[in-house]
């Protein structure tokens, strides 16, 4: 080892540059979620300047058609997009993983019913199904969230079922059953604890995609309602003001950076758990 290569040794192998960038991007937006009001000079709903002003020192990303500050609205947008995405993933995991675990553990009729429901739900192109549900429930960010949960839970049901089927055959489960543990106890104490890791990893990686889907629904008018500073609907405002390019720039970069962040993290995790692809 020469002295020159020494600094390289400090960084562990799994800590790749993309992973670090991903974590930084996500941390930035998490910070914005918590303290957006402290990071911005303007209220996201206030008309603080003339309408459709290009970027300037007063308004770094310009103003929109109602004279609101685009940068403030972009940063505040994190307070809608991120909690929604987290809530959607948590709910989808809760529903999907429970049903998947039951299907795998009980087998028989329960398995058939649950998995056919999964098959049918996964037979739809996700966006079309989400649109149909969101349209039925009516506009609003939380209705869009329900639509996304309905689209997303089967993914975790399949994953969890596969995990349970695999762990169920292990010897320690057999031992637990032989020593007289109840079925509930076998499932909750001996099987489930070994099934969570892949589900949680996949859920983390999906956060970016859920943010994208939520923004897409809002973009076509099925999610957030005005004047909520949500990224998708802000881009929709930008599309209406096509020649004022800065209106859509902020929210677009926001979605891009946070989804890229989650994808970088996902890629890093993937490389870590599957070193062949390095």
């Amino acid at each position: 080892m020469t002295a020159l290569s020494a600094p390289r040794m400090i960084r562990p192998r799994w800590l790749t540059l993309p992973l670090m960038v991903g974590v930084l991007l996500v941390l930035f937006w998490l910070l914005a979620t918590v303290v957006a009001p402290l990071m911005t000079a303007h209220d996201p709903l206030d008309m603080v300047g003339r309408r459709l002003q290009p970027p300037s020192w007063d308004h770094l990303l310009g103003t929109d058609a109602l004279g609101r500050d685009v940068l403030s609205r972009t940063l505040h947008g994190a307070r809608h997009s991120i909690p929604i995405a987290v809530a959607v993933v948590i709910l989808a995991v809760a529903i999907g993983a429970s049903l998947g675990a039951l299907a795998g553990f009980l087998g028989g009729l329960a398995d058939t019913v649950i998995m056919r429901l999964v098959d049918v739900t996964l037979s739809f192109p996700p966006m079309l199904l989400a649109m149909a549900v969101a349209a039925s429930l009516g506009p609003g960010l939380w209705n869009a969230a329900i639509a996304m949960v309905i689209v997303w839970w089967p993914v975790y049901a399949r994953l969890m079922r596969a995990q349970v089927l695999e762990v169920r055959e292990r010897e320690h489960v057999e031992a637990a059953i032989a020593s007289g543990a109840t079925r509930t106890r076998v499932l909750t104490r001996h099987i489930l604890p070994l099934c969570w890791t892949p589900v949680l990893i996949s859920a983390t990686m999906d956060l970016g995609q859920v943010i994208l889907l939520a923004a897409s629904l809002s973009f076509i008018g099925l999610g957030a309602t005005p004047p909520t500073p949500e990224w998708g609907s802000m881009i929709s405002d930008g599309a209406a003001q096509f020649y004022s390019w800065w209106v859509a720039l902020g929210p677009g970069l926001a979605i891009l950076t946070i989804v890229l962040g989650f994808n970088f993290i996902g890629d890093g995790l993937h490389d870590y758990f599957d070193p062949r692809s390095r």
Binding site: P18, R116, D119, V120, T121, S123, F124, P125, P126, M127, L128, L129, M131, A132, V133, A134, A135, S136, L137, G138, I150, G208, L212, A215, S216, F219, I220, G221, L222, G232, I235, G238, A239, F242, Y243, W245, A248, P251, G252, I255, L256, V259, L260, N263, F264, D267, R276, S277
Partner: protein, 337 residues
């Protein structure tokens, strides 16, 4: 293998029935009132008009009744009448399907070309700047919202530089050819109008690229992983030892051996393309199923929403089935569960 294909085919009608049922149920648990789409605001207070509209559109029947009627009509190819266009939904969808297909196929071609090239380059130049750049390009494509990318590229290439056309399938001043297949590129050629054909291709470039980029990312990642594996095999060493050129080794020997998984991922990318088409069509004023679905969803046009969702689901089901069967046929070692 025959048994596997048979079993999949037998399951199809049940899945389709499931799709129909779910689509129907979802749009009936609505809080939005479809009456607002049929009756004007002023007449909503007029009980006679409301009752007449309800009777006409079957909104006064009970849910099971409506379901049975809907499925019965569906079997005869009737998907009901759109509240907005006042035309049969089946006719609307058929009319708009080719535009979506043309866009999706073009996007698939773009995505596959870029994806395979990048995947091969990334694997061959593993862990070099080329590899990192290719991986970044791929990840970027699956992170960028298509509707924003579409807007940005339209602004730069069409408005600022003027080197690519704006939205639409043809120049707004051009007279479209008679609709035969609904594929603008085919119809213009059948009309014998080469200039119009080039215009149609010209208009396809941006939306196809916007839609294809994200798929390119998925494809390149898979091609890279498979190429890495194949390139380390011994027959590659043999080929090199026998004096085959590098290009020949990579394309003829290695890439050929990754074709099966590559074709599979291209087939599965269809779901993404249909999803992305909804948004891309909105941006590019593309008169396909996606923009129809968006209009229907915005206008609470439930017959149209159910219709589009069912058609989308069935197309998706068929492409996945074909992909699965192709995979099994090309790869007899796969164990069929």
């Amino acid at each position: 293998m025959t048994r596997y294909i048979l079993r999949r085919l037998i399951a199809m009608p049940f899945l389709v029935l499931g799709i129909v049922t779910l689509a129907f149920l979802l749009t009936t648990v609505t809080k939005g009132d479809p009456l607002t789409a049929i009756v004007s605001d002023r007449q909503l207070n007029n009980p006679e008009v409301v009752a007449a509209a309800k009777a006409k559109w079957g909104l006064d029947r009970s849910l099971p009744e409506r379901y049975v009627i809907y499925v019965g009509n569906l079997l005869t190819g009737d998907m009901g009448t759109s509240f907005i266009t006042r035309r049969p939904v089946a006719q609307d969808v058929l009319y708009r399907l080719p535009a979506t297909m043309e866009l999706v196929i073009a996007a698939m071609a773009v995505g596959a070309t870029i994806g395979i090239s990048l995947g091969v380059l990334a694997a061959y130049f593993r862990n070099t700047a080329i590899d990192h750049a290719a991986r970044f390009f791929a990840l970027f494509g699956s992170s960028i919202p298509v509707f924003w990318l579409g807007l940005a590229l339209l602004y730069v290439f069409s408005v600022q530089w003027g080197i690519l056309p704006g939205p639409g399938r043809l120049d707004a001043r051009a007279t479209p050819p008679p609709m035969v297949t609904g594929f603008m590129t085919v119809d213009t050629l059948m009309a014998g109008n080469v200039r119009l054909f080039l215009d149609a291709v010209w208009h396809l470039i941006l939306p196809a690229f916007v839609l294809g980029w994200a798929v390119a990312g998925t494809i390149s990642r898979l091609v890279r992983a498979n190429m890495l594996e194949v390139l380390s095999r011994e027959f590659i060493l043999t080929a090199r030892a026998k004096g085959a050129g590098e290009f020949r080794v990579v394309i003829r020997h290695a890439l050929r051996n990754t074709l099966v998984p590559t074709l599979t991922v291209i087939g599965y990318s269809f779901a993404y393309l249909l999803t992305g088409a909804v948004l891309t069509e909105t941006i590019f004023s593309w008169p396909g199923m996606g923009s129809y679905a968006v209009d229907a969803a915005r206008g609470l046009d439930f017959p149209a929403i159910i219709g589009v969702t069912i058609v989308g689901g069935v197309i998706f089901l068929i492409t996945n089935l074909l992909t699965d069967i192709a995979y099994v046929v090309a790869n007899p070692r796969v164990r069929l569960g």
